[in-house]
Symmetry: none
Subunit: 200 residues, 4 copies
DNA sequence: TATGAATGAGCGTTCATTCAT
DNA sequence: CATGAATGAACGCTCATTCAT
């Protein structure tokens, strides 16, 4: 299969990770930092150190690269949440750990916004009707958050989850627009207090 | 000066607004609905019914049109807030009226997101360092909101204002990504209850 | 209108015929000599001495150029037949004059085939389902030929017209494939004899 | 020699013809239906179920595949004519049988034209001077037809053969352009009558 | 002021061909 | 023999911007 995710480094002369992975990784960074429309395939190819023509061996269109980036994000999100599940036992500590994960990124977010939120916003405006795969980027953390609130015994778990995620997404928008990383820190602290204040 | 804001229709047959205004208005709509990068100057000229070559009489570059759109947004926001000031007397009713203004747009927001938030996100990623004029789009309502909270006697007025605006921006992001206008309605109700619950 | 067929040379500085015309003319020649697929837009632009980017001011797509070439062919055919109508009085002399027109081109046909027949063949195989405008290229002369046979009092005018055109098209195919211009001359002579031999 | 025509399936599980044969067969179909320029090597490899990289073991260039397709056509034509020689005794019945062979294909011809005529037309326009091998595609049936007319005692056998083939090729062109399979049927009937009417 | 026309750099994409194993 | 991967030149097309009148 062409779309192998494996490295091509076993016994070979080139010791770098697989090209497909490199392409997705480079694309992920560039789409995030420059936006989808401002990023050319040549940019991506160059950043991944892959000849331009070769990109099309792995992805038939630019849209397909975008999709692959979304999938990679989904994968990363799921892994991060699974890691939180492993490292923390109570719902409250899990939620606060997630909050911490988000605020830890305050500096990049002040530059480029939330990687998932801005990607959603941008792709919803593309004419080519990207298949709305981006929705998972926000659904997955909402669902996870909802599970935590439910585990706390809250019957309004879904509403709380939406409130939580909206608070984070909005803070990210303001943080980027105002270029104030501290804003996100501040909102993070508030959210942690809010989580602590919730009762069953 | 060439860039007159006045109509150019005096003595003419039709009473259409001046070309510059038509261009800004068309650009405002298209940038919002299609995104900045997906909108061509030809699109804008066509929508404004202005010959393409003529656009450059009013705006030297595409960036200048974008700036004019931002200015128009700023103007609209200020007018809207001034109107709220006029129509409502107490800070709480003003804040709830603002909330209502925002939720009233739930259907367009579900399609294109918040006109100001998405514009900020998008422009922050452009290579050509747009002069960060977008910041006013969010600063102005934050400051206005802060004034209301302060008038309520709250010493944490700024924090509350940020919390309020973040809640709205985040709700807009989720509303667009999940394509659920009701989500915004729901968050609006919650915000109104929250406002009512605040004490001096 | 952009698609003006007029010259742009009246009082202007450039004294060459209109660019659109030059483009269609160059395209017509190149499509004929090299085939549709082998001819690039850069080829056409170069031959017409028009900057590549400017081609798209006149034609939105390559297909549109091809269509314009077909229309030009249709126009030429109609003018040629009208000229035959004017210059000859009897159906028989008209038909023989047409035969002469065709055989006069024997040398180019030996190189590139019949300009209309080869264009039809090629375009029928394009995936993009060109709107079958090519059919007129053969229908028009068939109909004209049929009118002549009918004027001769033949009730089988349509069949004779098809037979005539098929004879010419087939001769053109063989002439090109075998690279023998004389073959077309010979078939032309035969056709003239055949026309003469027909009775009412 | 590497370019064996034999099967490579001895001892294998399936009895599929050898790769080379499959490639030529797939290429023959695709070149006919889509045209030479519109058919990629990947298309051919896919249709033949041969890995793309492997194609170059059998054919050094795309042109070589085209040549092989022509050779295959030549072979098929010769076989078909030999079969007619075997199955029919008199020249007239042989010629009418050939006519029947051709009209039997009216439906494909209405879609793609004559497999040999369109191939000739197309290849004559390629820049890379294909070695004019296509000429055999039309020469062989002309020569065979000429032999039949000569066997009938006609001294103008060559002219009649050219007339016959031109009639068929032209009918094929019209049939495809006008998309009327019946046109070929009709011309076939006329040709049979014509053959019958010929005297020594 | 106004405008149709022009311009060229660049983009996404294709494909015959080659290479390393 | 076989094959997945690689390569780069070229193609059709777009678009912000400029020009001539």
């Amino acid at each position: 299969m062409a779309n192998s995710d494996d490295d091509d480094s076993i016994g070979g002369s080139a010791a770098r990770p697989g090209k497909r992975k490199r392409l997705v990784s480079a694309a992920s960074d560039l789409l995030y930092q420059q936006g989808v429309e401002n990023t050319t395939l040549a940019d991506i190819a160059h950043a991944a150190d892959v000849p331009l023509g070769n990109v099309y061996y792995y992805f038939k269109t630019k849209d397909e690269i975008v999709s692959a980036v979304i999938e990679a994000h989904v994968h990363d999100i799921e892994e991060m949440l699974a890691s939180l599940d492993r490292r923390h036992r109570t719902p409250k500590s899990r939620l606060k750990a997630l909050t911490r994960e988000l605020t830890d990124q305050r500096n990049v977010i002040a530059q480029y916004g939330c990687p998932h939120g801005t990607l959603c916003s941008e792709l919803e405006k593309r004419t080519s009707g990207t298949d709305h795969a981006t929705v998972r980027l926000l659904e997955i953390p909402i669902e996870w958050t909802e599970r935590q609130f439910r585990a706390m015994g809250r019957h309004d778990a879904h509403d709380l989850a939406v409130e939580f995620m909206a608070a984070y997404q909005g803070a990210a928008v303001l943080t980027q627009a105002l270029r104030q990383p501290e804003l996100l820190t501040h909102e993070g602290r508030r959210l942690k207090r809010w989580i602590d204040s919730l009762e069953a």
